[in-house]
């Protein structure tokens, strides 16, 4: 039989998991719209940070400014109406993006920083280390999540930790971060155990790779997509957690956040002041919806197997 090289176009493409997944994702219009929405929110939050840094007095930064009388309804001048002090609800809503995204980002960061290394170490080294890590997260996960967050938030609030005063959102994202790494850790551990037995890891071992090298060069890249997917879906939960903590008086107090705005609206509703509530709810709704849909799409695109875990 004559051996023949196949031309490039004919060859089934050896695309990586990522390329493949992202390409598939790119074809989903809805997912891309959602992605754009998410990027928009992040840009907004980043912009507010930036503007504050250089003290650029754009609208959202000047949320404290009185732009009208107290509790003025939406008008052409103040599109979303005003609050009790005559501050613009629109500006507060925009500014709230910074708080919510900061909370969710920091909490995600903490949970990744704790969950991924612990999960990898437990899964790779097994033995006593594994038992201890499993024990820790089993303990944490045996306490209902909401109780655990509340317990952490109550206890951490107004404490000083390593010279840092834990006020407002700091204690919020610490509480969320310190309690939410469990799921990620469990996921990573399971995946690492699976991959550990795969040929490529065994091969790496056989030519004398160190444990650290195997973890960083081989294992982590192969579980990385899980972290991203987990992140996108968890982000939503964190934004919602901020609302509940704010309602319980454990959240941000000095700056407008969506949770605080909804909480304030509780009383305002009875005088028919609905705009603050609607603005904050809508702000949360759109980013949650976008993250939910995008997260699902990402998961389907990159790792359809995970659908089971949902």
């Amino acid at each position: 039989m004559i051996k023949r090289r196949l031309t490039n176009s004919e060859q089934p493409k050896g695309r990586s998991l990522w390329q493949d997944g992202l390409k598939r994702l790119g074809r989903r219009k809805l997912a891309m719209v959602c992605f754009a929405v998410i990027v928009l929110y992040f840009l907004l939050a980043g912009f507010i940070y930036f503007a504050e840094l250089i003290d650029w007095q754009v609208g959202p930064i000047r949320w404290q400014e009185e732009v009208g009388g107290a509790y003025e309804g939406p008008s052409s001048q103040n599109k979303f109406g005003t609050d009790i002090f005559g501050q613009s609800v629109l500006r507060k809503t925009l500014y709230g993006a910074k708080i919510s995204i900061t909370v969710a980002l920091c909490a995600s960061f903490i949970s990744i920083v704790i969950g991924v290394p612990l999960g990898t170490i437990a899964g790779y080294y097994r033995g006593v280390v594994d038992e201890i890590i499993v024990w820790v997260y089993s303990t944490l996960s045996s306490i209902p999540y909401i109780l655990l967050i509340l317990a952490f938030a109550v206890v951490l609030r107004d404490k000083t930790l390593f010279g840092f005063k834990l006020t407002g959102i700091t204690s919020v994202y610490l509480a969320i971060g310190l309690t939410s790494w469990v799921g990620l850790c469990r996921l990573i551990r399971g995946e690492v155990i699976k991959h550990k037995e795969r040929e490529y890891v065994l091969a790496a071992k056989s030519y004398g790779c160190s444990g650290a090298r195997i973890i960083f060069r081989h294992l982590l890249p192969n579980v990385f997509h899980l972290i991203i997917i987990d992140f996108s879906l968890r982000f939503v939960a964190f934004i919602h957690a901020e609302v509940i903590l704010s309602f319980l008086g454990l959240g941000e107090a000095t700056r407008p956040s969506w949770g605080v705005m909804i909480n304030d609206a509780r009383i305002e509703l009875s005088r028919g002041v609905w705009w603050q509530m609607v603005a904050a709810t809508a702000a949360i709704f759109f980013i949650s919806l976008a993250l939910n849909i995008f997260g699902d799409a990402l998961r389907d695109a990159i790792d359809p197997r995970l659908r089971k875990a949902a």
């Binding site: 303990t139 045996s142 939503v236 609206a265 949650s288 939910n292």
Partner: protein, 312 residues
């Protein structure tokens, strides 16, 4: 089977110890001193000192037989949580709060379960169709609205504006009357995530080979769904259901708060507001114990539903 249960229970011991350690660290080591709050507005330093003594706050934290840590253990293992800030026994508070909480959460739970499993079956059956897409979108949209907004709007429209339901707990109402609206709101908020979850479960099952076999036999869709799929789907459903039961006892923080239902959720909110670590500690510990126990029950339930699992 008995040996299995015993062995399974033995596994829970380290977890319970872990929970005890965690609550101790949280509420005693990090949480700190509560004596001043107990002493009240006209307190003298000596009263505060006496309170510290009474509550054992001046004992060493760890290294002693009479340390706070050992006492924390003892009290937790004997379910003696002492007295709350208002000098009522914490246990009494919890006992009293359980019923109203259950009256709220049990109907809510079954409502969500029945509606979402039924919907999920239907949606899974018409998978891929416009109805399916619509259902998923509605679910995701429902999940994206903050819980608090749901409650606020629900209470505002149905109780305040339309006056269809009582606004708040009142002693002259029957329990059915005052839990009606919160249960309704609870069910609506719970549907999104649950329908989506059960749909995924059903889809996983519907894609299975045995379903194809069942269809190949000539069974109709209803029989396949209700006889074959549902029983297999029971396994993930049971996990979710049984593990949700401990949460029923906790009540619902926000709903109880908004509707004045004197359950454990409300108790918890108040404990948070007044930093009543005695109550928070007891609630955390009890719910963890319940959770661990129900974990064991889940495993036993697997055995009942899934013939592949044996306890030997």
């Amino acid at each position: 089977m008995t040996t299995y249960i015993i062995r399974r229970l033995l596994y829970t011991i380290p977890i319970v110890l872990g929970v005890l350690l965690l609550t101790f660290v949280l509420f005693t080591v990090v949480g700190g001193d509560v004596s001043i709050e107990i002493a009240g507005k006209n307190a003298t330093p000596e009263t505060i000192e006496e309170i510290r003594e009474e509550y054992g706050l001046n004992k060493p934290l760890f290294l002693s037989w009479d340390s706070q840590f050992i006492n924390h253990f003892k009290s937790a293992l004997t379910f003696d949580f002492g007295r709350a800030r208002d000098r009522e026994l914490v246990v009494d508070k919890i006992k009293r709060g359980v019923w109203p909480s259950l009256a709220l959460t049990v109907p809510m739970f079954f409502g969500v379960l029945i509606i979402s499993v039924s919907l999920a079956l239907v949606v899974a059956f018409v998978r891929g169709s416009a109805w399916d897409v619509f259902a998923v979108v509605v679910c995701v949209a429902g999940m994206s609205i903050p819980y608090l907004s749901f409650i606020l709007l629900g209470q505002y429209f149905f109780a305040y504006k339309l006056g269809l339901f009582p606004i708040f707990f009142s002693p002259d109402l029957s329990m059915a009357e005052y839990v009606a609206l919160p249960v309704l709101i609870g069910i609506v908020t719970g549907l999104g995530a649950n329908v989506r979850f059960y749909r995924t479960v059903m889809l996983d099952e519907i894609r299975s080979d045995y379903v194809r076999t069942a269809f190949a036999k000539g069974l109709d869709a209803r029989r396949v769904l209700f006889k074959h799929v549902l029983k297999n789907a029971m396994i993930p459903i049971i996990t979710r259901v049984v593990l949700a039961i401990p949460f029923l006892f906790l009540g619902s923080l926000l709903l109880e708060r908004f509707f004045g239902i004197p359950g454990l959720g409300y108790l918890m909110i108040e404990a948070i507001g007044s930093r009543d670590y005695f109550v928070i500690n007891a609630m955390t510990y009890i719910s963890a114990i319940l959770f661990v126990i129900f974990n064991v029950i889940t495993d036993i339930c697997y055995g009942l539903v899934d013939p592949r699992i044996s306890f030997d």
